[in-house]
């Protein structure tokens, strides 16, 4: 009797687990459909004419019809916007990682008076929404004579990115072992030499995390270009997109092609490096 009731409970437990797992799969599949359908519809619409978009929004298009994409390539400033985004994002990341590593190295590797104050100073910037200081920033950029230049954007992105970068890098650099450093010091290596040849090669994983955490918000930023940049030739991709969406309001195929081309670089890199993206973008929030 005891074996019978045992198997009964086992079976019931198994069925319950199966039911639970089934429900979980249904929730996840539904969610994935909701997440991906808009992106697939955008991809399809980029190869369709207006009539096709309105009549069969879900239909698979003829992918050899590149009319919309050619139009964007030849009739808009899209390539210029793309190039500007690459320049601004690239320069910002290089400066953020350089300055961020310098500060983090000093705080994380050396004991000196005021080091905790320095760290606090950077951390204070973590939670402050810099958007709300846009009026003083606008006046500051005007006084420095760099309004309407890419330098104004690079400067503001570096200021935005430094706090999190110092935070992540300090945590990482402080945990590196002392042995290598001490051995090099015994051999008479200078401090800059120790940093450059011995410690920096070890921090590469943290640099990747910090780089990704900064690259996505900078690449996608719209607010600061909106305020600082007026010249069409200097606009970044998200800002250029608003200009261009205003011009082609009736040509939906071209609008979707513009959205597709703007999102394609990020989507492709994300698919290749999804683990690094997820780790990098949640790095500040996951302890």
């Amino acid at each position: 009797m005891s074996t019978a009731s045992q198997s009964y409970y086992d079976r019931r437990g198994m069925l319950a687990t199966l039911g639970k797992d089934g429900l979980i799969q249904i929730i996840l599949i539904l969610n994935t459909v909701v997440m991906l359908a808009p992106i697939v519809i955008m991809l399809f619409a980029a190869f369709k004419t207006n009539a096709q978009i309105f009549q069969s929004p879900f239909g698979i298009p003829d992918f050899s019809n590149l009319a919309n994409i050619v139009k964007i390539w030849s009739q808009t400033n899209f390539l210029r916007y793309l190039l500007n985004s690459v320049i601004v994002t690239g320069a910002s990341i290089v400066v953020i990682l350089t300055l961020g590593t310098m500060a983090a190295y000093a705080v994380g590797r050396y004991k000196f008076r005021g080091s905790s104050f320095v760290l606090m100073f950077f951390l204070a910037g973590l939670t402050l929404p810099l958007k709300l200081a846009i009026i003083p920033l606008f006046i500051l950029m005007r006084d420095l004579g760099i309004l309407n230049t890419q330098l104004s954007l690079i400067v503001i992105y570096v200021a935005m990115g430094l706090p999190t970068t110092v935070f992540i890098m300090t945590g990482f650099i402080a945990t590196l072992p002392n042995e290598l450093e001490d051995a090099a010091r015994m051999d008479g290596a200078s401090e800059p030499r120790i940093m450059w040849s011995i410690m920096l090669p070890l921090v590469r994983p943290a640099l990747v995390i910090a780089g990704i955490q900064n690259v996505v918000p900078i690449w996608n930023d719209f607010f600061f270009p909106l305020i600082f940049i007026q010249k069409d030739n200097l606009k970044t991709l998200p800002q250029g997109l608003t200009t261009f969406m205003g011009e082609y309001t009736t040509d939906w195929g071209v609008l979707f092609a513009g959205l597709l081309l703007s999102s394609a670089p990020v989507i492709i890199v994300y698919i290749i490096l999804s683990r690094q993206f997820i780790n990098g973008m949640t790095a500040g929030a996951v302890k």
């Binding site: 799969q25 969610n31 955008m42 961020g100 910037g125 929404p129 706090p163 800002q239």
Partner: protein, 306 residues
């Protein structure tokens, strides 16, 4: 090397620390302090005029039509915060719990839920603006195709649905973020605790409320605080989908749009006022700092160290 080792060590540390510190001082600390100072001056365009005390604050809080605009926008932000708390953080927790099981396909679902997060808000805003178009948008076309033509709405064009449409677009964009932060929190719960719970109860609900939820408290603190700051800074989605005026007639106006219009003028280029704009920025800033501080403090108190 010149000088004593101690001096050169000090020089070296200074060389490392001064450039980044100077940068943050000039482009973060100085502007934020200035933002407070600017609110107490009268402004003629871009030129600072005389000191006026609290006049700018009085203007945006107590004189019409500013007072009504301020309250209207603020209440919309409050609404957005609570709606996203459910649609973004609530759904995110549920999805994290589902992903945590590591059933077949979980890796794929994890990548797809985070995909919209990496897209620009501008792309997301335009995409949903096109999808929600009353005549040609895929949402209404689908409803009509399913014989549910009655559900087809001018989503962004009427008071009752406009703000909800923006909230939905935002939730679609960002739900992957709380999902993966919660998931990381759940994955840190030690296996022994979970085994012990499995002995005690079969109820999934007890497991969630008594064990999982308290143990992911640090993740909750972070995503709640970030959502709060984000909700009261909300700008890009409404700017792209309904424009600077928060159409239709202010039904989607939020503090971000209102601040921008006040400081930099509206589309017709009129009404630029750095004084009133700075006062609004200071009020929003103080409000965010106070409440975010309280949220963090209260939530930290209930966190459990494993």
């Amino acid at each position: 090397m010149p000088g004593s080792p101690l001096v050169s060590r000090r020089l070296w540390i200074s060389a490392l620390i001064v450039p980044p510190l100077a940068f943050v001082a000039l482009f973060v600390v100085y502007p934020i302090i200035s933002a407070f100072a600017y609110a107490f001056f009268h402004w003629n365009g871009l030129a600072r005029g005389e000191f006026v005390g609290f006049a700018n604050f009085y203007k945006v809080l107590f004189t019409q039509p500013y007072a009504d605009w301020t309250v209207n926008a603020f209440l919309h932000n409050v609404w957005v915060f609570f709606a996203l708390m459910v649609l973004q953080n609530g759904v995110g927790f549920l999805l994290a719990y589902c992903l945590w099981r590591e059933l077949p396909g979980a890796a794929f679902h994890r990548i797809s839920v985070f995909l919209p997060v990496v897209l620009s808000t501008i792309i997301v805003g335009f995409l949903w603006k096109l999808f929600l178009h009353p005549l040609f948008g895929v949402v209404n076309i689908s409803f009509r195709g399913l014989g549910l033509g009655g559900l087809a709405q001018p989503w962004l064009g009427q008071d009752s649905t406009a703000l909800w449409s923006l909230i939905f677009a935002n939730a679609w964009h960002m739900v992957g973020f709380p999902t993966l932060v919660f998931l990381a929190g759940m994955q840190r719960i030690p296996g022994e605790i979970l085994d012990a719970v499995r002995m005690e109860t079969e109820s999934e609900w007890t497991k969630i409320t008594k064990i999982v939820w308290p143990l992911v408290a640090p993740s909750a603190t972070v995503v709640f605080t970030l959502l709060f700051v984000g909700s009261f800074n909300w700008f890009e989605i409404p700017y792209v989908m309904v424009g600077l005026e928060g159409s239709p007639h202010g039904a989607t106006d939020v503090l971000g749009l209102y601040f921008y219009r006040t400081a930099f003028g509206n589309m017709s280029g009129s009404g630029q006022d750095f004084g009133a704009g700075s006062a609004l920025a200071v009020l929003i800033f103080v409000f965010i700092a106070l409440v975010a501080g309280v949220i963090t403090f209260k939530l930290r108190a209930r966190e459990i160290q494993i």
